[in-house]
Amino acid sequence: MSERRPRVDLSSAVGAVASGMATILKQVFRRDVTEPYPHVIVPPPPRSHIGRHRLNRHENGLEKCIGCELCAFACPADAIWVEGAENDPEHPVSPGERYAKDYQINYLRCIMCGLCVEACPTRALTLTSYYELSFTSREEAIWTKEQLLEPPPPLGTDPVDREG
């Protein structure tokens, strides 16, 4: 191992430390980058899909999901469970023949990659940036169809996550 020792002479060392300290002091006058999270919530950019999914409805209240299971196929993490069924013509859940009888997303598996929404042929499934997801048990991490049909509340209002 070749010995290469830095040559540090006093004046340049003192100069370097002084300029370093001046640089540090300059930062004092710079704007703080901290986001005081639960008090001030910086909205994520529009494309952001760092949060939970959402199942959508048509304007007439029918569900957009047709139970095709493409999202489950696309999911690389096997996080989605869809069980399709025939619509009852009298009380259709969705327009068309089929609907999702059961729809679950396991947020312990989900990796937020977004392939599911890219696969969805009806824009029934969309990804939101509602990132305040917290669970205390495995059961809670599996979201059911009813939960996913609820639009997410504004950020910072979930009582569980109040204090971040």
């Binding site: 540090v8 370093g20 300290m21 710079r30």
Partner: protein, 372 residues
């Protein structure tokens, strides 16, 4: 000494103890705020207004945490080590004059717990005992990282104590007293920092090392030794180390203020004459600590072998030379009179300047330097 004297003494001890605790609390908050400021962050914000109670919250949390004793630990030593680390830190503060005096119940109560003739030696003695806490904590944990931390720490503290003592010796020679109150008196006209600037610098650097503060925080060195000597500590015992460390910081800064920055002296209006010195003292201590935090924010951690080399090969020789010079400055005018000494000093100084200018010119240019 009658009963009232005893009561006043006890009262002073209690007040100083509590005051020290509160100061430490504020100091930790201040350090976190200042360094956050320098890193464009906010720092603690939740506990109390702008997070001022964060230390209290941390303290309460640590108090209720489980204290774990490792199976490999040397139990009695392990348990007593934090106390040993903390006690000398508090004791050292006893001789610091942090104000003038106030008259209570017809007696004059000085703002200083004790003013022994050995003064500053007491501080050194306590500082040298403080290392036991660290060494024993590291050894008794029965684990490798703490042991390395303890070894580093004992070597570091012993080495830098010498540099620190040399800086102090220079001041003592200059002031002609060990008694801290007299040293403060002697700075009525000029603060020692001006005639004794080199000693001040040596003291500040050695002080950083003595208190294990960055860039000399090698006994802890979280990126190398995890947390060094207190890796295995938790709960209230960890809090004691933390407390001791910060009390040490206060003490080191207080000594710097007392010896170099004129102590509690400062311009004061006539209202409440005993309050102003206190405030001045506090302000100066905080200024020194601000400097320490600033250094912490700037400098990387030095490597251990370089730290020792710096202590032994730079700080101590420099301190020795400075002690010699101070001795000459103090004694020579008495012996030979003022004039010849000043003239001689001027000649030596001129020769030194000439030599330092000439030396680089005479030396052959070194080949490709590293780290341009």
């Amino acid at each position: 000494m009658d009963l009232l004297d005893w009561a006043l003494l006890l009262g002073r001890v209690a007040v100083v103890f509590a005051g020290l605790l509160v100061t430490v609390m504020l100091l930790i908050w201040m350090e976190r705020k200042v360094i956050a400021d320098m890193q464009t962050r906010m720092g603690p914000m939740r506990a109390g207004p702008r997070g001022v109670l964060i230390t209290l919250a941390d303290g309460i949390k640590l108090f209720f945490k489980e204290g774990i004793v490792p199976a490999e630990a040397d139990r009695p030593v392990y348990l007593i080590a934090p106390v040993i680390a903390m006690l000398p830190a508090f004791l050292a503060f006893a001789v610091i004059p942090f104000g003038t005096s106030v008259t209570l119940f017809g007696r004059e109560v000085p703002f200083q717990l004790a003013d022994p003739s050995i003064g500053i030696l007491w501080v050194l003695a306590m500082a040298s005992l403080g290392v036991y806490g660290i060494v024993l904590a590291g050894w008794s944990s029965g684990s490798n990282y703490p042991l390395l931390g303890a070894v580093r720490s004992s070597a570091q503290i012993i080495s830098y104590e010498i540099g620190m003592s040399l800086a102090l010796v220079a001041v003592l020679m200059y002031s002609g007293s060990l008694r801290l109150s007299e040293i403060v008196e002697a700075q009525a006209r000029v603060w020692n920092v001006i005639p004794q600037f080199p000693a001040f610098v040596v003291y500040l650097i050695a002080g950083l090392a003595e208190t294990n503060r960055p860039p000399f925080d090698l006994p802890e060195a979280e990126s190398e030794l995890v947390a060094g000597f207190h890796t295995e500590y938790s709960g209230i015992r960890f809090a004691l180390f933390y407390l001791g460390e910060y009390v040490n910081t206060v003490t080191v800064a207080s000594v710097a203020v007392t010896l170099f920055l004129g102590g509690w002296r400062g311009p004061a209006p006539d209202v409440l004459p005993w309050v102003w010195p206190l405030l001045w003292f506090l302000a100066k201590v905080l200024a020194v600590v601000y400097g320490y935090v600033w250094v912490r924010a700037t400098l990387p951690r030095i490597r251990f072998d370089r730290l020792m080399a710096f202590g032994w090969k730079v700080l101590i020789p420099f301190g020795l030379v400075w002690v010699l010079l101070t001795g000459a400055i103090v004694v020579l005018p008495d012996v030979y009179g003022r004039g010849p000494v000043v003239a001689g000093a001027a000649v030596v100084f001129g020769a030194l300047v000439l030599a330092s200018v000439a030396a680089p010119l005479l030396r052959p240019r070194p080949a490709a330097e590293v780290g341009r």
